[in-house]
């Protein structure tokens, strides 16, 4: 659902660098160069960055909409 905290294979901490990676990829940088600059050298850790899909981002909007609807109903009752 969220980024894995550590690399599955070697155990290096990867989660703290993921948000920087995502924002730099979005700004058009080369993913390989970003990973080099973040100190992610082994291919086991690099595949975590390349292959992670944060499905929590697809679930959260449902709860945001639910909350919005709840407050609409509340204001209609008031």
């Amino acid at each position: 659902m969220l980024v894995p905290v550590r690399c599955f294979t070697c155990g290096t901490l990867v989660a703290d660098k993921y948000s920087e990676y995502v924002s730099r990829v979005k700004s058009g940088e080369d993913p390989a160069k970003i990973m080099d600059s973040l100190g992610i050298n082994r291919y086991c850790c690099r595949r975590i960055f390349v292959s992670t899909v944060e499905t929590i981002d697809q679930v959260i909007p449902y709860y945001e909409a639910l909350r919005r609807r709840m407050s609409e109903i509340q204001s209609e009752i008031d």
Binding site: L2, V5, G11, L13, A15, I56, I60, E64
Partner: protein, 216 residues
């Protein structure tokens, strides 16, 4: 002819050390490597008491993420729970550290990171404050108490101080190169130091046991 064993440090940073062993048996170098992986203790979150969790992730999934967060460890101040004399299932200040988190998203979606964990100890803290724990949607809440304990990598990988540790051939004969990388819970130097101490005590126990054996 047996040449004198020697050791030099090729490179050293906080989380990575490269040592070159000359004329040291490969088995001895490998023993140091194996002990640094599985028998040097570190602190990791082991017990989580969930007070409130209305997030999209299950209690167990969050607890698993918490366990994997590397915590800075001071080996001199803590003992393994089974070696502690407190006889308390919750532990005492020598064998556990309490970390708490209380977070709520009010009007906006919020990312909860390891920086929000409050530790009762000044040293024992997550090595990075940017590790995402959960994303909370508006009005969701997460509140828990977590107990960190010392443990061994042979029990669970979350207690492993090392990430990548390897022994390779050197350029000359009878040369071994030991590379140890750590998660940040211990520095590479502390890990090697603790591993060598552990190896020495194992060798001593073995020698004493052999010496005490009675030959019928």
């Amino acid at each position: 002819m047996v040449q004198a064993p020697s050791l030099d440090v090729v490179s050293k940073t906080n989380d990575r050390i490269v040592l070159r062993f000359n004329n040291v048996p490969r088995q001895y170098v490998n023993a140091i490597r194996r002990i640094s992986i599985s028998e040097v203790p570190t602190l990791a979150i082991d017990d989580v008491v969930m007070m409130e969790n209305s997030s999209v992730m299950h209690d167990e999934a969050i607890a698993h993420r918490l366990g994997l967060i590397p915590l800075r460890t001071d080996l001199n101040r803590f003992v393994l729970p089974q070696d502690c004399d407190c006889n308390n299932s919750l532990g005492c200040s020598k064998c556990r550290v309490l970390l708490i988190l209380d977070s709520e998203a009010n009007d906006k979606t919020k990312l909860v990171t390891s920086g929000e964990l409050v530790s009762e100890d000044d040293v024992v803290k997550p090595v990075s404050s940017d590790i995402p724990i959960i994303i909370l949607a508006p009005s969701q809440k997460l509140k828990f108490e977590a107990y960190a304990r010392l443990g061994l990598g042979s029990i669970h990988a979350k207690w492993q101080p090392t990430t990548c540790s390897i022994v390779t051939d050197g350029t000359e004969q009878n040369q071994s190169i030991l590379t140890v990388e750590t998660t940040g819970a211990l520095t590479a130097e502390e890990t090697i130091d603790a591993a060598i101490q552990r190896l020495n005590s194992k060798v001593k126990t073995f020698t004493d046991t052999v010496a005490s054996l009675q030959v019928p």
